[in-house]
Amino acid sequence: MKTRDEEIAPQNEQTESGVSRRDFLKISSIAVATPMVVGPTVVRVAGEEVKVWGPGAMPVTLNVNGQSLKANLEPRETLLDALRNHFDLTGAKKVCDRAECGACTVLMDGKPVYACSVLAVDAQGHKIETVEFLTRGGAGLHPIQQAFVDHDAQQCGFCTPGFVVAAKALVDKYPNPTPEQITHELSGNFCRCGTYAGIRRAMGERKGA
C-alpha cells in the first residue's frame, strides 16, 4: 500500500513530460507573489511544453463533503487553510500546522490525513470528507459522535473534531477495535485538556457504527 506521501508526490520528476524540482524552483524564484490569479506559465522541459501554475493564485476545485468547491488559491496554500479560510469549514482546527497534533484530521479518499500538511492543489481529484460531513443535511450525530458525548470525551473541544474523524477512520478499518488498536490508531492526535480516558471509554462502549 502506498503511503499518503507517495500518492501525492510528483510521479514524474525524471520523465520527459514533467517539470523537475530544479526547474520548478527556478520558475518560482522569478515571480513575485500576488493575490491575483496568474495564468499558467508554459515552459519547455526536456523537449516538451508544459503548463506550470503558480506562484500566484490559480483556480482550484476540491471535492469536499460531496460538493465541488472552487476557489483561487496559491499553490502553497494547504488543504486546511483552504477549508477554513475559503470555504468556512472550521471543524478541522489549525493547531500545530505541521502534522504533529491531528487537530486538522480529515478523510482523503477515506483515509485520515493531516489537512495542514496536504497542499490544496494536491487534494484536487481526491474525495475530501471533513467532520462536518458526519452531520450533513441536518443529520443527527454519528454514533461515534454520540459516544463522545455520552462518555464526556471532550473538554475545551478544540481537538475533538480531529479525534472524531480519526475515530471514524479507526472504526472503518476495525469495526470492533481492540484497546491496542484504539491506542495505535488514535495516537496521531493530541489533547491538552486530557480527555483520553473519555475517548477510550467512548470507543470501547460505543453503540452502532
Binding site: 493575490p35 493547531v95 464526556d152 473541544g157 478544540f158 484504539i182 489533547c191 491538552r192 486530557g194
Partner: protein, 788 residues
C-alpha cells in the same frame, strides 16, 4: 418557599447528577465556533514581525516595502527603534493583509535591524552567591520601564516603589508615557508620590534577586537534635501552556468608533475594561463575544498585544476585521510559561517518622520579571523552618499563571524530599505522611479519609515495597504518592434569570466555559432549583453585554456561577410560588417545584404544570438578579480549601530509561459536587496533564541563540492516548463534604502528579531522579550515579 441554601441530598434532582455536557453535541459535530474560527466578511489576516534575539535593541525599522505590497492593508510599528527587547519572538511590527500568504510575504519585506545584547536563558544552575544582587534599593526610570515592558504586575511594583523609592524626578510628561505604556493609575500615582533618592547611582544589573530569608521556630536546634537528616536537590523546569487554540483575536474597529472583539479568553467580562486604556476609547464602545475557548489554563486573562494590535490594524485598514493569532512556534515561545523552581532541601526527622525541621534554598525564573517563591514547605507546616529564595530574571519570555500557580512546583519540592526522608527512615511514605498529617491544619481529617480511600483503590499497603524493586529483570515497578491543597472560593458573579409567561426560561451571565463544564453546571443549579431539566433553560454566556461574572482562574468559577445562579433561581421560583399559590389553594411557602410541576409539598397531587404556573405571571416576564457574594441573601454558598491525595504506579525500564505510568489514583474533595461527570473529567484531565509535565514537558532553551529549541508539538511533547495507563478518580461527597458548599476543582488535581510520579520512579529504581520531566536520559543519569 425555597431557601437560598443548597438543597439536601434527597431533595436534589439535578445537582450532583451525572449529566452529558450541554455543548458536547456542537463540539463533536465541529459546529462549535471558537474565536479562531470567526470568518467575518472582509476579513484581513494579521501577523507579526518578531525579534529573532532573546535580548537586543531595535536599531532600525523599515516598513516601506511592506506597505507598498499589493494586498497589504496596514502595517504598524509596535516597538519603535531604540526599544530594548527581552525575549525572542517578541512582537516588533504588526501586519494585516488580504490573505495569510500575502501577510507572510509582507513579514519578509519588513527590514528590522537589531543590536544583540547578552542574554540568560538557563535557569537550572544554582546561582552563585557572588551573582546575587545585594539589595533592592530605589528604582531608576530604566528599572520602571523594564518592569513595565516585562509585564511585572502592578501589585508587585507598587509596594516596592512605595518602600524603596525612585532615583529620578517624575515629570508629568514621563508619567504620561508610563500610562501610555500600560501603567495603571495606581502605579502612576505611586511613582508620582514615591520617595525620591536623586543622589543614588544606578546599581549594576544582576539577573539574580534574593527574596528575604524566612525563619519559623528554631531550625538550628531542630537540625542539631534530629535523629535523621535527609537532603536532596529537586527541580521543575519552565513549561508552557500549549493551549490548542493559540492566543489571539478577531478585532474590528469600525469608523463609528465601536470595537467588536472576538478574543480567545478566560475572562469575557474583563476584556472591554482592559482594552479601553490601550485603545483610548470608553469600555462601553467595546463589545466582546466568545462561545467557546480552546484552552487557557491560566494564560488567557488579558486581551494582550495581539488583540490591541489587531484592533489598531483594523482601524488603519478602515474598519475591516483583522484576525491575529499566534502560530504554534510563537504560541510556545511567547504566550506564557509556568515558572521554574529548583531547590536544595534538608529535612530533620525523628526515628518514628515525625518531621521536625525544614531548610530550603530555592531558585527559579518567571521570565524577565524574575518571579515569586513557591510556597515551601508545601501543605505541611513543619514547626521549624528556614527558607531562602532567589528569583532569576531570564530572557525566555514572560510567565503567566499556569493551572494552580506555584503549587505543582511546591509539591515536587516538598513531597519528594519527604519521600526521600521516609526512605532514609526505612519507613513507608504512606505512614510518614500520615504521621505528620496534623501539620496540614484544619484539613487533616479530610486527608486521613482520602488516604484510606486511595489505599483501597491503589492497593498501596498490599503492593508497596521498600525503595528499589528487587525483582529480576530490567523493568522495575514502584509506587509513589503526594498530597495537595487549593483555595477555590467562588469569584464575584452576577446573572439575570428571566421567566416568561409561556414558561420559557433564559439565564444570562458574562462568564465562559473553558471546557470545565461551566454551562452544564449553571444549568444543573437552575434546573434543580426550578424543578426543570437542563434542556428547559436557554443559557446565554460569553458576552460582555451580559451581567458581569469573574474570569475563570484559580478554580473560582464553579463557586461563583453556581451561587449566583442559585440565588437568581430561588428568587424566581419564589415569585412563581406567590403567583401560583392561589390557584393551588395553598400558601407560597407550602409549594415545591420538581419534574416540571409546581405542587403542594404535602399533597403532590395538587399541582400546576410549569407552563400553567408561569401563565399566572400575567403579561410580563419576571427577571431576577443573582449575585455572588451576596450578604443580603445568605447563607454563603461557596467555600475555600480542599485536600486531595494521589498515588501513582509506574514501571521504569532501567536499560532504556523509559518510564510508563501503569495506574494513577486521584481522591479529591471539592465540597458540594454540582455536576459529577464533569467533575470527574476535570480530575482525569488533570492526571493526564500531570503525567505530561511529569514525563515530557519542558521549554528547552538554547543558551547560544537564546531561542526555544522545541517550539513545536513534535518536540514539545504532550502525553498521547497510549501514555496514560489506568486512571481512577474518586470524588469525596456526602456528609462532611456537601455541607461545605461549592468549592473549585480546576487546579487541585493537577498539583500532585509530578511529585507522585517522581516518588514512584524513586521507589521503582531505588534512586531519586532529581528533575522532572523524568526523561530517559535523566533516569539513566540517576541510575549511573547509583541505584537499583
Amino acid at each position: 418557599m425555597a431557601e437560598f441554601k443548597w438543597p439536601e441530598l434527597q431533595q436534589r434532582s439535578v445537582i450532583g447528577a451525572r449529566l452529558k455536557r450541554v455543548d458536547g453535541p456542537d463540539k463533536v459535530a465541529g459546529h462549535a465556533k471558537y474565536s479562531l474560527d470567526q470568518n467575518p466578511k472582509g476579513l484581513l489576516y494579521g501577523t507579526m514581525v518578531r525579534s529573532p534575539y532573546a535580548h537586543c535593541k531595535v536599531t532600525k525599522i523599515d516598513i516601506s516595502a511592506a506597505q507598498q505590497m499589493p494586498g497589504v492593508k496596514a502595517v504598524k510599528v509596535i516597538q519603535k527603534e531604540g526599544t530594548e527587547i527581552h525575549w525572542a519572538g517578541d512582537e516588533i511590527v504588526g501586519i494585516a493583509a488580504v490573505s495569510e500568504c500575502v501577510a507572510e510575504d509582507a513579514v519578509r519585506a519588513v527590514k528590522v535591524e537589531y543590536s544583540p545584547l547578552p542574554h540568560l536563558v538557563l535557569d537550572a544552575p544554582e546561582p552563585k552567591p557572588n551573582d546575587v544582587a545585594e539589595d533592592t534599593g530605589p528604582l531608576s526610570e530604566d528599572d520602571i520601564w523594564d518592569a513595565l515592558s516585562n509585564q511585572v504586575p502592578a501589585n508587585q511594583l507598587i509596594p516596592r516603589i512605595k518602600s524603596d523609592g525612585i532615583t529620578f524626578k517624575p515629570e508629568e510628561s514621563h508619567l504620561k508615557e508610563f500610562k501610555e505604556e500600560g501603567a495603571p493609575d495606581a502605579l502612576v500615582e505611586a511613582i508620582r508620590n514615591a520617595p525620591q533618592h536623586l543622589d543614588v547611582k544606578p546599581k549594576p544589573k544582576s539577573p539574580y534577586k534574593r527574596a528575604g530569608e524566612k525563619v519559623q521556630g528554631d531550625p538550628e536546634t531542630a537540625f542539631k537534635e534530629a535523629e535523621v537528616v535527609s537532603e536532596g536537590y529537586y527541580g521543575v523546569p519552565v513549561i508552557t501552556h500549549c493551549c490548542l487554540e493559540p492566543h489571539g483575536a478577531v478585532m474590528s474597529w469600525a469608523p463609528n468608533g465601536k470595537v467588536e472583539a472576538r478574543i480567545s479568553t478566560q475572562n469575557v467580562s474583563g476584556m472591554a475594561g482592559q482594552l479601553a486604556g490601550p485603545l483610548g476609547i470608553p469600555a462601553t464602545d467595546i463589545h466582546q463575544h466568545q462561545d467557546h475557548v480552546g484552552g487557557g489554563f491560566g494564560s488567557k486573562f488579558s486581551p494582550d498585544r495581539w488583540a490591541v494590535v489587531a484592533a489598531e490594524l483594523s482601524k488603519m485598514a478602515g474598519g475591516a476585521p483583522v484576525k491575529m493569532f499566534n502560530d504554534r512556534r510563537s504560541e510556545l515561545e511567547v504566550a506564557g510559561a509556568r515558572p521554574s523552581a529548583y531547590a536544595k532541601v534538608r529535612i530533620a526527622a525523628k526515628k518514628d517518622g515525625t518531621i521536625t525541621g525544614w531548610e530550603s534554598n530555592s531558585w527559579g525564573t518567571g521570565g524577565p520579571g524574575g518571579g515569586g517563591a513557591p510556597p515551601l514547605p508545601y501543605v505541611f507546616d513543619i514547626p521549624h523552618q528556614r527558607k531562602q529564595h532567589i528569583a532569576v530574571a531570564t530572557n525566555i519570555g514572560p510567565a503567566r499563571a499556569w493551572r494552580a500557580p506555584n503549587h505543582p512546583q511546591a509539591a515536587v519540592l516538598t513531597m519528594c524530599p519527604i519521600d526521600d526522608a521516609a526512605a532514609k527512615l526505612g519507613m513507608d511514605p504512606y505512614d510518614v505522611f500520615l504521621k505528620n498529617i496534623d501539620y496540614t491544619g484544619p484539613r487533616a481529617k479530610i486527608y486521613r479519609d482520602e488516604f484510606a480511600k486511595a489505599d483501597e483503590l491503589m492497593g498501596w499497603k498490599k503492593n508497596w515495597h521498600p525503595r528499589g524493586d528487587k525483582t529480576p529483570g530490567p523493568v522495575k515497578r514502584g509506587l509513589g504518592l503526594s498530597i495537595h491543597t487549593w483555595g477555590g472560593r467562588g469569584h464575584a458573579s452576577d446573572c439575570d434569570l428571566t421567566v416568561h409567561p409561556d414558561g420559557a426560561v433564559e439565564l444570562k451571565m458574562g462568564t465562559q466555559d473553558l471546557g470545565t463544564g461551566t454551562r452544564t453546571s449553571i444549568l444543573a443549579v437552575a434546573a434543580d432549583t426550578l424543578g426543570l431539566t437542563i434542556h428547559d433553560i436557554n443559557l446565554l454566556i460569553g458576552d460582555s453585554n451580559y451581567p458581569v461574572s469573574g474570569g475563570s482562574g484559580g478554580s473560582t468559577t464553579i463557586g461563583g456561577v453556581s451561587s449566583s445562579t442559585r440565588r437568581a433561581a430561588v428568587q424566581a421560583i419564589n415569585q412563581i410560588y406567590e403567583k401560583a399559590a392561589p390557584a393551588l389553594n395553598a400558601k407560597p411557602e407550602e409549594l415545591s417545584a420538581k419534574d416540571g410541576k409546581i405542587f403542594v409539598t404535602s399533597a403532590p397531587d395538587r399541582s400546576l404544570s410549569w407552563k400553567d404556573a408561569c401563565a399566572k405571571l400575567g403579561a410580563m416576564p419576571i427577571t431576577t438578579r443573582g449575585r455572588n457574594p451576596d450578604k443580603e441573601h445568605p447563607p454563603d454558598l461557596t467555600n475555600s480549601g480542599v485536600g486531595g491525595v494521589q498515588m501513582a504506579d509506574v514501571s521504569v525500564d532501567t536499560e532504556t530509561g523509559i518510564v510508563r505510568v501503569n495506574k494513577m489514583v486521584a481522591v479529591q474533595d471539592c465540597g458540594l459536587v454540582v455536576s459529577l461527570t464533569q467533575a470527574e473529567s476535570q480530575c482525569l484531565g488533570a492526571l493526564i496533564m500531570g503525567i505530561t509535565y511529569a514525563l515530557y514537558e519542558e521549554k528547552v532553551m538554547d543558551p547560544i541563540s537564546g531561542r526555544m529549541l522545541n517550539g513545536n508539538m513534535e518536540h514539545y511533547r504532550l502525553a498521547g492516548i497510549g501514555d496514560i495507563g489506568e486512571l481512577v478518580v474518586h470524588m469525596m461527597t456526602g456528609p462532611g463534604y456537601d455541607e461545605r458548599g461549592v468549592i473549585g476543582l480546576g487546579e487541585p488535581p493537577v498539583i500532585s502528579p509530578g511529585a507522585c510520579i517522581s516518588n514512584a520512579v524513586a521507589n521503582a529504581i531505588g534512586v531519586r531522579v532529581p528533575q522532572i520531566p523524568i526523561t530517559p536520559d535523566r533516569v539513566l543519569a540517576a541510575l549511573a550515579k547509583g541505584g537499583a
